[in-house]
């Protein structure tokens, strides 16, 4: 029994980062209706950046989170300004292909810089564990989860309490209306894409102490993000957050019930089921 509870706890802890990742993607889709197929690759850039800071300057990835987030924000904003802006009204297939191209470039620039070997950040406190009765959790996982939730909360406050955030939400709800009240829609889009990218960049930093990664991890992160966003409902940020936890838990339970190396299969089967039976996601929302 405690094995399952442990699995659920593990799932929730990693789910936090998944949620942050997915919230970023959902924001981008919600505001611009753009399908960011380079999402995971941006996250991997965040991961390599935080790895580099750790290796060259000894900066703990948890401390470089904000820096990584900011850096990927700029990356995202640049991609949006230069490329995405041109295909805002194009059919989805074109957007996917464009972002796929961006993803290929990002992934292979990483490959050229870092090589194909798996990397990981080994923090000194990586083996510190805490016991809650029969349940164990290691420090990195706990910190990752906590920070992920904090960042998600910050995003929530940003979107609901600040003017910029409100502009973004308005643009997501009603583009024409936002235009009518004088919103510079292009700036809002760049901002939104940047914020979405920042989320996933920060998520990258948070992820580095937990798993090894390679340049090709990006595609998997992208698909997992889409998985979560579809399950939670496209454009629905709360849905993305909850979906992240859900996918984290189902993967974790999958690892226990099946074989650890098959854990991702649960997520994909879930995706197929949702696509077939409830494409608007568990929390409704727009298509």
């Amino acid at each position: 029994m405690s094995l399952y509870i442990q699995a659920v706890v593990n799932g929730i802890l990693i789910g936090g980062v998944y949620s942050l990742m997915a919230v970023g993607l959902s924001l981008i889709f919600g505001v611009m209706r753009v399908i960011n197929f380079a999402h995971g690759d941006m996250m991997v850039w965040g991961m390599y950046l935080s790895l580099w800071l750790f290796v060259t300057l000894g900066v703990d990835p948890y401390l470089s989170v904000l820096f990584t987030g900011a850096a990927v924000f700029l990356l995202g904003a640049a991609i949006q300004r230069g490329l995405v802006n041109r295909i805002l009204t194009a059919p989805h297939e074109m957007q996917i292909l464009l972002m796929m191209g961006v993803g290929l470039v990002l992934e292979n620039l990483s490959l050229m810089t870092w090589g194909p070997d798996p990397r990981r950040v080994n923090v000194s406190y990586g083996l510190t564990t805490f016991w809650f009765g029969p349940i164990v959790a290691d420090l990195p996982r706990l910190v990752t989860f906590a920070l992920a939730v904090v960042l998600a909360l910050c995003l929530y406050l940003f979107l609901t309490r600040t003017d910029l955030g409100r502009m973004i939400r308005a643009a997501a709800d009603n583009q024409t209306g936002a235009l009518l009240v004088g919103t510079d829609i292009r700036k809002v889009f760049t901002l939104a894409f940047g914020v979405g990218a920042a989320c996933v960049g920060a998520a990258g930093s948070l992820m580095t102490p937990l798993l090894p990664f390679t340049p090709s991890s990006g595609l998997l992160f992208t698909v997992t993000s889409f998985n979560i966003v579809i399950i939670g409902g496209m454009g629905n940020l709360l849905g993305a957050f909850v979906g992240g936890l859900l996918v984290g838990v189902s993967e974790s339970l999958g690892a226990v019930i099946l074989v650890p190396s098959l854990k991702e299969i649960v997520g994909f089967v879930l995706l197929v089921l949702i696509l077939l039976f409830r494409p608007q996601g568990l929390m409704g929302g727009r298509r």
Binding site: M94, L97, G115, S261, V272, P279
Partner: protein
């Protein structure tokens, strides 16, 4: 008209003689080009003509590869026959996916995700099936025997690959000229309008999927008996699916020459970058592929071939 025939004959002669004068490296390059052009052509039937983008074609490729290898290794069945079994199985699987996707009305992005998810599920399963080699992968013993699809030297493979390409292009050519082809592009342009005009969109999409999957599977068998090694993380990966679809998209989906041109273009660029930028080259050529894809989507949405054709036509019209 005469000019066309002359060019055609010259190209044909070149194609036939090239492998005998080319170095091993160039032979391999050409084989790879034909092979990817072939796969791209197969993808083209569903993606270019029917307009249903699939990011999961690696699945059909692998079904073809693994089926023929398993039948050969365990039952001694010649891959020439095994490849047909693989194609049939791939077609059946495509109908399963298609039924789920099309009956449940999945289009565009959602359909792409479905194809992706299925391919990923297959990959994860394949990694855990000992008969398919698991994580170590499957090594195939090379015993040169044309009846077992294994040839000494590259030249026979060159002609097999070329024939495959010819076959696929021929199939696409026939489709283009038939009612099937007209209906497919109508579905691509506007599915509901096509439906309103009497086109059974479900049936034709399913048919296109079956043809596309079967052809792709044949390519998988070729790969298996050219590379002699199969590993799920290579052949069933998303990266592989992207590899398959990028050539027809860059070259021009929905045309016969598109996948061929796309394949030549990408292969040449790849070789160029590998040769002249040796340092850090691992990955440079894919960066170039990515940039090319971006350029095509933004500026040449119909693909390189149709755009070039348009330029040439307009230039000729101006000088007429």
């Amino acid at each position: 008209m005469i000019l066309r025939i002359v060019i055609g004959l010259a190209a044909g002669a070149a194609l036939l003689l090239l492998p005998f004068v080319a170095s091993s490296v160039w032979q391999n390059l050409l084989i790879t080009t034909f092979y990817f052009a072939y796969l791209g052509q197969a993808w083209n039937v569903l993606g270019g003509y029917a307009g249903q983008l699939s990011l999961g074609h690696a699945a059909f490729f692998s079904i073809g590869a693994y089926t023929s290898v398993v039948l050969h290794t365990h039952l001694g069945l010649s891959p020439w026959v095994g490849m047909l079994a693989g194609a049939a199985l791939a077609a059946v699987v495509s109908q399963g996916i298609g039924f789920l996707g099309f009956r449940f009305g999945l289009r565009g992005f959602y359909f792409i995700l479905l194809t992706l998810a299925v391919a990923e599920i297959l990959r994860l399963v394949a990694l855990h099936l000992p008969i398919l080699g698991g994580y170590t992968g499957l090594f195939i013993n090379f015993t040169p025997n044309p009846w077992q699809f294994q040839f000494k030297g590259k030249i026979p493979y060159y002609f097999v690959a070329l024939s495959f390409l010819g076959l696929a292009s021929g199939v696409v050519w026939l489709i283009e000229r038939s009612k099937f082809g007209v209906y497919l592009v109508a579905i691509r342009e506007d599915e509901d309008a096509a439906e309103a005009l009497g086109v059974d969109t479900f049936r034709y999409k399913m048919l296109a999927y079956a043809v596309s999957a079967a052809l792709t599977a044949l390519g998988g068998t070729f790969y298996a008996y050219y590379q002699f090694y199969l590993q799920p993380n290579t052949v069933l990966s998303m990266h592989h699916s992207v590899d398959i679809m990028i050539r027809p998209i860059v070259g021009g989906s929905g045309t016969i020459l598109g996948p061929i041109l796309g394949s030549f273009l990408l292969e040449l660029l790849g070789e160029f970058s590998r040769t002249y930028f040796a340092t850090g080259a691992a990955g440079l050529y894919v960066v170039i592929y990515g940039l090319l894809l971006i350029v095509v989507v933004l500026f040449l949405p119909r693909g390189v071939y149709p755009t070039l054709l348009g330029w040439v036509r307009r230039a000729l019209a101006r000088h007429a």
